[in-house]
């Protein structure tokens, strides 16, 4: 009956009952919107089964991105005039907590599936063949900025130390307790650099002194700063943000 009344009065909006029905429908709609609101916040994401599916999808997306990754495809490079000034500082802590690493006592530690695990001093690293790039750093938050980094091709370094290039992962441990890892295919990409300079100057502490891995084919958080140790492994090493739910591959 009600539905029929509704039909009939559609042609005539002045009929009083339509307002009553409209109001009731509106209330009903409001209630379902409220139910939807319950979906938001942590409530649903905290549900174990939902989280299992979401984590599974994130692993699936790792696979899709590894498949999409073209080892010969280069990230766009930009002219000096395109560099973002000032280049933003970003870390899991504030700018007042930036770690200072002592240059004189610094030694890069190597471990895992590497033939020559002799630690490297800064002068030794600076003596490696240097190159530079001006690329876009894209943050997982959405913003992006263009910067210029200089250093050695990571593939050159990995070959030099006799790393097992058939291994799955390269992991990094940093002076600020940050840690992350990347896939070997990305590690060997020609634009993946072990950098010691920003804008032609020795990396200032806020950009990761003494060295930062620059990976223009991945999101910003996959570019570790203040690297103290690195290792090659076939065991998934995870990462600081990755272990909290951010996608591991995070390619771009």
């Amino acid at each position: 009956m009600k539905r029929r009344g509704m039909e009939l009065s559609l042609a005539d909006h002045s009929a009083p009952q339509i307002h009553k029905i409209e109001r009731r429908l509106f209330l009903k709609q409001g209630l379902s919107l409220g139910a939807l609101a319950l979906l938001s916040g942590c409530a649903l994401t905290d549900d174990e089964n939902v989280q299992t599916v979401l984590t599974g999808m994130s692993r699936w997306n790792d696979g899709v991105q590894a498949w999409l990754f073209d080892p010969n495809k280069l990230a766009p490079e930009y002219p000096e005039s395109a560099i973002t000034k000032p280049f933003p500082f970003n870390a899991y802590y504030g700018e007042n907590e930036i770690r200072e690493v002592d240059a004189n006592s610094y030694k890069l530690e190597l471990s895992g599936l590497i033939r020559d695990t002799k630690p490297w001093t800064l002068p030794e690293l600076y003596a490696l063949p240097q190159t530079s790039q001006i690329t876009r750093h894209i943050c997982v938050e959405g913003w992006s900025a263009i910067g210029k980094w200089g250093g050695v091709r990571f593939s050159t370094f990995l070959e030099g130390i006799g790393a097992d290039l058939g291994a799955k992962y390269v992991g990094f441990k940093c002076a600020d307790d940050y840690y992350t890892s990347i896939d070997m295919a990305t590690a060997l990409h020609p634009q993946t650099l072990l950098t010691f300079k920003y804008a032609d100057q020795i990396l200032p502490p806020k950009y990761g002194f003494p060295m930062k891995l620059r990976v223009p084919t991945k999101l910003g958080f996959k570019n570790p700063k203040h690297i103290m140790a690195m290792f090659v492994t076939n065991t998934y090493p995870g990462g600081y943000w990755e272990d909290q739910g951010y996608n591991w591959f995070s390619g771009s």
């Binding site: 539905r3 509704m6 559609l10 938001s40 990754f69 959405g142 223009p216 084919t217 951010y246 771009s252």
Partner: protein, 209 residues
């Protein structure tokens, strides 16, 4: 009176099963993508406003990204089935065309005055045709700009069509805003013409003979 009306009413099939199933899967996927997308937007707003967190999904950026990049597969799969079905079966051609700009304008004005006729739910009026086609186009733009934001290096040729990564973000935002606007109008119209609602579930509508 009641009995006579009953006699004159016949049930006609207006929404094919594929359309109904994909409609609801798409609706769910779009709801998840928009709500999680708003949370992602909030992590680095393009403009001078944020979306209230109560309207977003995911709890924090990582959670929102997980929802967004999970639901995208659902939308891609369901959307593709809908598109292929719509084109191959002739559903789009029958339901959305012909579409004349003058008729669209006429029906939109009628709708604004509350005078738009919905007597026969099996035939879309010009305003509906335009709105549904616009949502389809907006979704295609959303998927393409989304892919460009997700993989701006691997899919850099696609990103370049939108002036690169930052351009793709803008395209993604405005396509979202446009789609949300049309969906809101769509929901409002369903509230005003509530008998349209069950037809997207049962597929059938009553038509006076």
């Amino acid at each position: 009176m009641e009995a006579i009306r009953q006699d004159r009413t016949e049930w006609v099939k207006i929404h094919p099963l594929v359309v109904r199933i994909t409609h609801w899967i798409n609706a769910f996927a779009i709801l998840v993508m928009v709500a999680s997308g708003w949370r992602i937007y909030n992590a680095s707003p393009l403009f001078d406003f944020k979306i209230p967190n109560e309207l977003t999904l995911g709890g924090w950026l990582a959670g929102a990204l997980q929802w967004h990049f999970a639901a995208m597969w659902l939308l891609a799969a369901s959307g593709l089935v809908y598109l292929v079905y719509g084109i191959v079966s002739g559903h789009f051609r029958r339901k959305f065309f012909p579409i004349a700009p003058r008729a669209v304008l006429h029906d939109v004005l009628d709708a604004l005055r509350g005078k738009l006729a919905h007597e026969d739910l099996s035939v879309y009026n010009a305003a509906q045709r335009a709105a549904y086609l616009a949502v389809i186009v907006a979704l295609i733009v959303l998927v393409l700009s989304g892919l460009a934001i997700w993989q701006p290096v691997q899919l850099q040729e696609l990103a370049a069509l939108m002036d690169g990564y930052e351009g793709a973000r803008l395209v993604h935002f405005f396509a979202m805003a446009f789609m949300v606007l049309i969906v809101l109008v769509h929901i409002l119209m369903v509230i005003l013409v509530p008998r349209a609602f069950p037809t997207m579930i049962s597929g059938r509508a009553r038509r006076k003979s």
